[in-house]
């Protein structure tokens, strides 16, 4: 098995572990973290497989996709944390 495939499989494993985590955990923060690990898994798959190019430098398009994806994921995470903390303060206020 080639290295890109191996890394991709690691990415898939990350994705699946985090998926299990996100389903099984009840804690909001842990769910947010799990979703983040899931996205890391996807990004790893994207980047690892970009190395299957015959030449020396990898395929740049998945890299660009990952950068875009990271920014999107960061935005979503920030919103999720703000919401989670609102939930807590909302619950405390009642």
């Amino acid at each position: 098995m080639s290295a890109p495939l191996l890394y991709a499989l690691v990415g898939v494993a990350l994705f699946c572990m985090a998926l299990h985590w996100v389903i099984a955990c009840a804690d909001p923060l842990r769910r947010i973290l799990a979703v983040n690990v899931m996205s890391s898994g996807v990004f790893l798959v994207l980047v690892a497989l970009a190395r299957r190019v015959p030449g020396p430098s990898p395929d740049p398009v998945p890299h660009a996709m990952v950068i875009t994806g990271i920014v999107v994921a960061v935005s979503a995470t920030a919103l999720a944390i703000v919401l989670a903390s609102r939930m807590r303060s909302g619950a405390a206020g009642r």
Binding site: L19, V22, I23, A24, A26
Partner: protein, 580 residues
């Protein structure tokens, strides 16, 4: 060119104009104009009906799936009397619907019902017919429930449940017919249905769907509930033209005159005759005049159902019998309109002399319904009798004996009605204004004059033997009545068992309630779902929802994050396995 465009627009205005007026009426919050608008609503229909020959067919390709409006000879009859009934009822309503009871809402819905009714009568393709028919059915809910009493709401609820079932059946039937024949045009569907494998299913759906309006036995239960609670003007249009629209629906979609359906024909004749007698017998046991009239409608629609059955059995009868049925509907609609308006006036009659005049006036349409000599009833019944001889053997003779007996039953029923009206307590309502009386007198005049116009149109010759034919049932009825009263007196005037209005419905309702309780009890024994049901049952108020409540706990399970995502995983896995 201009004339053609005008004709094209005119036909569309038949339903559109009352629809627009309905919106105007709703917008004219609290003004008196609503009733006048209702009278004006029929104008295009009248104009079209008067010159029916010019409006054979117009097409509107931009509307729905390509709408086709038009009139054949029978439709012209239907449209003209519908317009007349609507005018009479509007004038009557103008003087009787009170402001505090939500007049603008009544007239708005009244006009919408009118729009749907008149539209259905001119629609020649399935989508637009269905559209107008549904508009009529749903808007009629509002005029039935108008008084907002508990009774009115119950009646309207039963009505709307049946309407929804009927609409679903119709939609299913029409869509299947359209899908299978590849056309949404009634003409093409009637012709193409023969080759459709599901044709009996389509016919059954159409029979049930329209049968609810036409008051076919078992589906008739809403009529005796709705008529006594609706305002008289609403009852007049319900019985005068709306239930007839069901009949029109049958004539549109059933392959009458195209190919023979002996089984369905026999069923229709059987059910129709059964309804004719059942309605009369149950009706005679009623205590309220308007309920009696409702049962009379069921009985009369039974005769028309039998007529449709004859058409289904023997297509060759089509041209003559179709028109005869249309005229029967016309005669019945006018007479019933007149009867309901008169019965509504009974409430505002205080003096005994006026009461006598009222009963005398009501005797005229009653006699017409019973088919007495020189009335429209005699003319139309003779036209149907002329057709029955051409039926295959057992049916011809059966009808020969049974049809006159329906006249006997009708005569007895109408006598009961007149007795009840005479016995009503003195009026409580303030005197009605002139409008309602005017409308009623006009309806009487029309009933009186109708035979003069009918006779030449259906080819009836004023021959003495027919007078005898139509007179003897009345005599027989009189004899039966005298004998029955004599027997009753001799037995010491025992109290007769009372059949409640809505006859079949009550045992059904009771049965359903019991079934629900049983189901709830069964469900309650199954934990944990049972907990919810028990609570719902204990609260006692949401029994009808008990079963639906059970689904609530399943939804609560689906609502959990863990369950839902687990299911998402399953979904993904199954998708992958199937796609592989």
């Amino acid at each position: 060119m201009v004339l053609a465009m005008l004709r094209n627009a005119m036909l569309l205005l038949v339903p559109l104009w009352p629809g627009l007026l309905a919106l105007t009426s709703l917008a004219l919050h609290g003004r008196r104009l609503g009733g006048l608008l209702a009278v004006a609503g029929t104008a295009p229909a009248l104009l079209v009906a008067l010159n029916a020959g010019a409006y054979r067919e117009e097409t509107y390709p931009w509307l729905l799936f390509g709408t086709r409006l038009g009139l054949d000879r029978a439709d012209a009859v239907f449209l003209s009397f519908a317009a007349i009934v609507w005018i009479l009822a509007s004038v009557y309503a103008l003087g009787t619907i009170r402001r505090e009871s939500g007049r603008e809402r009544f007239f708005g819905l009244f006009l919408l019902t009118m729009s749907g009714n008149l539209g259905a009568l001119v629609a020649q393709d399935m989508p637009s017919f269905y559209a107008f028919y549904a508009l009529m059915s749903f808007a009629a809910f509002g005029i039935i429930v108008h008084e907002l009493t508990r009774e009115a709401r119950h009646a309207a609820k039963i009505y709307i449940v049946l309407v929804v079932i009927g609409e679903a059946a119709l939609a299913a039937g029409m869509i299947i017919a359209a899908g299978a024949t590849g056309s949404s045009d009634f003409l093409a569907v009637r012709a193409g249905l023969e080759a459709v494998p599901l044709r009996h299913f389509v016919i059954a759906l159409a029979f049930v769907g329209f049968g609810i309006k036409a008051g076919v036995l078992v589906l008739h239960v809403w009529l005796p509930l709705a008529h006594p609670v609706a305002p008289a003007a609403a009852s007049a249009v319900l019985s005068g033209t709306i239930i007839v629209t069901g009949l029109v629906g049958w004539l549109r979609i059933l392959p009458v005159g195209e190919w023979a359906l002996p089984g369905w024909g026999a069923a229709c004749i059987g059910l129709g005759l059964a309804a004719a007698f059942y309605g009369a017998i149950v009706g005679m046991d009623q205590r309220r005049p308007k309920v009696v009239l409702a049962y009379s409608s069921i009985s009369q629609m039974g005769i028309m159902t039998a007529g449709v059955g004859m058409l289904l059995m023997e297509p060759a009868l089509a041209p003559a019998l179709r028109v005869a049925i249309a005229f029967f509907a016309l005669h019945h609609g006018l007479a019933k309109c007149s009867l309901f308006l008169g019965a509504g006036l009974a409430n505002s009659v205080v003096h005994a002399r006026a009461r006598r005049w009222l009963v005398t006036g009501l005797a005229l349409p009653s006699l017409a319904l019973a088919g007495a000599p020189f009335t429209s009833g005699m003319v139309v019944k003779s036209a149907i009798v002329a057709a029955e001889a051409q039926l295959p053997p057992p049916w011809a003779s059966a009808l020969f004996y049974l049809l006159p007996l329906t006249s006997v039953a009708t005569a007895l029923l109408m006598a009961r009605f007149l007795v009840l009206v005479r016995g009503l307590p003195a009026g409580t309502r303030p005197r009605a204004s002139a409008g309602p009386w005017l409308a009623w007198c006009a309806s009487l005049a029309l009933v009186l004059l109708l035979p003069l116009w009918l006779a030449p149109t259906v080819g009836y010759a004023w021959a003495p033997p027919t007078f005898v034919d139509s007179a003897w049932p009345l005599g027989l009825a009189l004899a039966v009545a005298l004998v029955a009263i004599g027997l009753w007196r001799r037995a010491g005037r025992p109290a007769l068992p009372e059949i409640p209005a809505g006859d079949l419905l009550l045992p059904v309702e009771r049965l359903m309630l019991r079934a629900q309780r049983a189901l709830a009890a069964t469900a309650a024994s199954v934990r944990p779902l049972g907990e919810r049901v028990k609570r719902a049952g204990a609260a006692g108020r949401r029994r009808a929802w008990a079963l639906i409540e059970v689904s609530g706990s399943a939804e609560a399970l689906l609502d959990r994050w863990r369950t839902a995502l687990l299911l998402a995983l399953v979904l993904g896995a199954v998708l992958a396995l199937l796609a592989r």
